[in-house]
Amino acid sequence: MPPFEQIVTEHGAVVLRVCRAMLPPADADDAWSETFLAALRAYPDLPPGSNVRAWLATIAHRKAIDRHRAAARAPVPAGALPDRPSPHGIPTEPDTGLWAAVRALPPKQRGAVAYHYLADLPYAEVGRLLGTSEAAARRSAADGVAALRRSYAGQETS
């Protein structure tokens, strides 16, 4: 079994992309940390020959959903909050309009784009993560990419 440090090196960037596709930057960083902490806890029991990236994507997916649920339960502030420095330092990537566009996709499309295009998982695995069929996952990914293409083209001409 490889040292966990190697797992972080190999899959850290992919997991961050999946988190960024689901959550705004500060939340994405938190979800990344929660994902790898949970993975570190379970790692010694991971069966040999497992698809590590799919395993991490599954955990990241669950953590992102938890954060969405927590955000939905949280009270909505009445007015604008003052900007505060993030407790986690500088965000690891600029939040370009494109990431915001990915997050704005309907959940199934967003998930399919994140897992297929950003995490490079096969559609069968994507379908399993999203609770749909392989064919439906393929269709969601295509619809999501089409929507992103429109918003990306819009950005370039603006």
Partner: protein, 202 residues
Amino acid sequence: MMITEPDAAFLAELTGPAADLSSLRARLAAEAEREGLLDVAYRTVGTPAGDLLVAATPRGVLKVAWPTEDPDVVLEMLAGQVSPRVLYAPARLDQAARELDEYFAGRRRVFGVDLDFRLAHGFRRTVLDHLPDIGYGSTASYAQVAAASGRPAAVRAVGTACARNPLPVLVPCHRVIRSDGTLGQYAGGAEVKRILLDLEAA
């Protein structure tokens, strides 16, 4: 031209370049330590004898590896023999790094950092227990260490125990030399053994 391929420009923008994960990784190491999940922490320590890889469990320093050992192989060994929960986490090794710095600067004669001997078993462990009896600046022969370890005939086994010492420098196998006064072998290289003994003789 209509872009229809999945490697369209915007997807390339989403998938690269790789983000700098160093602050997230540092945070993971700190949280892992706090949660009791950091079974093996490691870092490198620069010395006049080269960069040492130093690893520790919560009990103490577990392994000091010379540049002659491939760090990937060392970490894989630790993952297999101790726990796969291995992370680059310098904080746990602050004291060890400080003491090694002081030693190589000639300002420290005895190490106080806690040690974890779980990588040495049986007679090899017995030999390691006796090595700190050889004081800073002095040497003993393999035969003398064999006698002190209760097996006077096991001179060759003492050589093996020294060669496979998981905690070189901290446990002073470099102070064990041949009965004819020549230095004998050293896992870090004969040159490094010379550097350490010259340092202690200064």
